[in-house]
Subunit: 337 residues, 2 copies
Amino acid sequence: MKSGLVTIKDLARELKISASTVSRALKNHPDISEATKKAVHELAEKLNYQPNAVALSLKQRRSNTIGVIIPEIVHYFFSSVISGIEDVAYDAGYNVIICQSNERYEREVANSKTLLASRVDGVLVSISKETEDFSHLFNLRNNNVPMVFYDRIVPGLEADQVIIDDFDAAYRVTKHLVDSGRKRIAHFAGPQKLLIGKHRKDGYIKAIREAGLEVDEKLIIEADSFEKARLAVMRLLNEKRDFDAIFAVNDLTAIGAMQTVQKRGIKIPDEIAIVGFSDGRFSGITDPTLTSVDQHGYEMGSIATQMLLKRISAEDDTYPFETRVLNADLIVRGSSI
Amino acid sequence: MKSGLVTIKDLARELKISASTVSRALKNHPDISEATKKAVHELAEKLNYQPNAVALSLKQRRSNTIGVIIPEIVHYFFSSVISGIEDVAYDAGYNVIICQSNERYEREVANSKTLLASRVDGVLVSISKETEDFSHLFNLRNNNVPMVFYDRIVPGLEADQVIIDDFDAAYRVTKHLVDSGRKRIAHFAGPQKLLIGKHRKDGYIKAIREAGLEVDEKLIIEADSFEKARLAVMRLLNEKRDFDAIFAVNDLTAIGAMQTVQKRGIKIPDEIAIVGFSDGRFSGITDPTLTSVDQHGYEMGSIATQMLLKRISAEDDTYPFETRVLNADLIVRGSSI
DNA sequence: AACGACACCGCAATCGTTTGCGGAAGTTGC
DNA sequence: GCAACTTCCGCAAACGATTGCGGTGTCGTT
């Protein structure tokens, strides 16, 4: 049915005045007499009139909506980013449409299409792991859709962006391990086509070199999930590789590693230290608790949204792109002491 | 600027034909000649024409969008519900607008208003912990917005709903503890004004009674967070209450309890068994691993969405409301063996 | 009496798209 | 040669709201 919703015309008909007058009365335009205003407001209240945001969007050519493309909200980091986004957007009177790419390129392209079709006023984007072709994003750009990238940015696409200093954080993680006496530190790396994966690995390498240690390629393994970590650890152990620490590209990977190590009867952190990345809600509940890096997801979401709103409301849309680099905090816990 | 986006009129002007013809050509209307269709399609492709979904919504009086009101997406359960929702909606060509209430009543009311204003075709609702006044939801109902409630439903509001059998699940959890020989089982309960809190407690009580044990009110504590669990455990221990198991209303509460118990040097599960609820991604990584109840969030989201889509496309909007009760699976792990 | 000032309100166009209806050509049949 | 079809396309209204412009009616002033 969907017949219900009362429109401005309904009010006009009921009061025997024009729709224009109702519209003006509702926003207290000075041209309208107090008596009319009162009548309109009262009827609107009584009939529970809600302005049709769709009609408004069409007329104003702005939807007061921002779109978000996000890889997977099941991760603590990303869902806290969303909270940061929502809070800022909400306060500014914006709605948020969230699209999950599920880490899939195709889905991400579809997402960018629907957001374009919905005429969102701007988008916040973090690309999927699969994404290598960025034409859908350039397409948004070409259509003058304000854009801010967060966390996973696109190399070669100039835009506002907010990231954390992955390189520095990874460097500090590794240095922390070095300082605690570890000599043979393995790295479970993320996909090297994602900048964050590359930066974290580079930070790791810098710290290793700086400490005068050897970078052993056999100790650098691309493994970025719970399951891959299990396999990687088993391989390392079966090959009898010598290592006394693991720096994993994210917490789940670290935890997968931790479990597998423990199942072999190896003590953490005595024999092997483990550090994760992107501190989640649960890094405090493993045994031992997991040293990790707090990525400040909420803050990232809120800052990205502020940047986007600024870009949206800028008359001069050519002011230079801005890159905000957030500090990530190393949180030392039981797994590396 | 936001000038860019090409419209049907732009295509018409370029090809010196009318907008009507362009519109029909784009959807292969038989009235249009092949030559014209070809020209239109080619130009549309070239100029990267994207139909304006806003105009469409206004014209069709349907937005192909469904709204979701959700308490907090940082929880694994809720974010997997969203994934289930998105997948089904996506396949049916619907967009999803997600609104977090952050467990706050006021925010939930605001959410329902924006969804109404956005003229979503239907809404999926799970109410916040604070919500006691349901007039905003009755308001949606009065405006003929199709609605499906999931997980946290509204007593007294007849509607489609999908829930899990909390009572039965809690009963089985408690029975499992009884069967393993526990006699003094504490319950960390959720807010009793939420049905799920009440049902879980009732299931607990039934199992206790059925086993011929005594229901000790001192062992039933309203505690539904990590922190509250810590305090509750400390109080129980300080008061030297006798108990050999804790059934917590959710996993985080269980984990808070587990930690606090362990810090006192008490062995789990030997001296105290612990069971959680709403199995998250991390119940497998505590030490010991946590016995819990898998609530099948993804399935709940996908079923709720299917029910909503069915309701939306129903010509006859008076077919009886349906309640789907999903089974929850008890997953026994190390914390209770 | 005539004119200007003011208060109040309606007409109509607009945003982008769809769609019923009608109309101008061209084709066929007899 | 003319009626009757086809084929193909455009006009205009509609969805709900906003807004520039103009119109009506009532006063007061000279």
